[in-house]
Symmetry: C2
Subunit: 269 residues, 2 copies
Amino acid sequence: MNKARRQERRIALTKILADNPNQLFPLSYFSGMFDTAKSTICEDMEAIRQLLEELDLGRLETVSGAAGGVKFLPWRSADSAHGLLAEVADKLSAPERIIPGGFLYMSDILFMPHLMTRVGEIFLSRFADAGPDCIMTVETKGIPLAFATARAFNLPLVIARRGSRVTEGSSVSINYVTGSSRRIQTMSLPRRAIPQGARVLIIDDFMKAGGTARGMLDLAQEVGATVVGTGVLVATAEPEQKLIEGYLSLLILHGVDENNKKTDIRPAI
Amino acid sequence: MNKARRQERRIALTKILADNPNQLFPLSYFSGMFDTAKSTICEDMEAIRQLLEELDLGRLETVSGAAGGVKFLPWRSADSAHGLLAEVADKLSAPERIIPGGFLYMSDILFMPHLMTRVGEIFLSRFADAGPDCIMTVETKGIPLAFATARAFNLPLVIARRGSRVTEGSSVSINYVTGSSRRIQTMSLPRRAIPQGARVLIIDDFMKAGGTARGMLDLAQEVGATVVGTGVLVATAEPEQKLIEGYLSLLILHGVDENNKKTDIRPAI
């Protein structure tokens, strides 16, 4: 095997791994694809692993044993995560984002594919040890972030709906009280969306009192699942006491001063 | 420069390009990053380009001139697209997906990150020439696919809501009639979501009579944008006459036979 061939193989391996986050590939898969010895693929993987680590571009993990192989995790180091969140906080602090009533316009940021992809990778880095089987959110604005997180984890996404839809078969609904406005709302999931005993990671864009996250927790438990973590992009500093415990918020919104057009929002990790 | 260094650089370049679809990088960006001559980066890019093309893993395009550089497009060949859609059609034909009333349970497929990512790349391959500035959809089930398409294009996503939300500032609403059930619905967008004169690509999961797509078209025009294309994952064969023209459907649903538990759905491209 000449050098040029090895180079080409490593370019291809890098591309395939990057396109398939958290998917386990047996070494035999690649040795078949490139008609090469497994030991050679091992060397390739080691070279790729070292380089990704050196440049903080993610982790390549080796799983040993008969059912083993390699998988790529789009891991974000603490430094990289902090840098990205500082950038998002900076964007969100722009005075023109303040909407009458002291709300913050966030939709454009929440719907930016390259940003949400990276935030999803931060959630992977933080929640990988929790070992979820699926990612859950509730419509609407948190969906892109939850989808990006599901992509980083290579897991199915489950979306709770407000109200139940005829096109989704039998469903489970709960009523919950939004913590801030004290309104009663309904949230539902198709029965078949989450398998019994599944380990669920809840992802949402925003948390104030935590009523919506609490509703998702109750709904997940209602269908026989276990919630192994809750992650939100932004949580408000007030009220300090939320309706759920042990959540991770990447940014904390300390306040929106409508009169002076100032927003105080900071990375929390 | 020794061989090992070149190999490492090409691994890193491949990873960075794959992570940033449709983003133009000046060659000087990489020559700075790797402290290497531009001509060397050019050679690297040519090697990567050839290999990606050979393995059908996407396209590397060179833009010449002062504002030039390279960008990676996660392009899907017709063969690759057809194979993927045949796989999706096969999954959707499973008898247990048929819901009383002759509906088809599709949510799990629509929320599978690796599948939707690839379908989004098919839309990129089909609509790149239309030159959109943003991707638009309406809540809820089409959001992951629209987000994946926006990611492939590296463009912002815009989500029309049913009803208008206080947290998004002043908004534009339209009423529209769903083509199949003839109900009047409302759809709205924050005024600031789409800039005047923007070129919009509409993406949705499902089309029956086309009333929802028609509503999005009207809403986009209402805010001063131009719709340059409409893509849906599944369209029904009946009614043949839809409320919009010139849409692209990747799959055609010819019929759901509830009694015999048979679904006839086929790739359309």
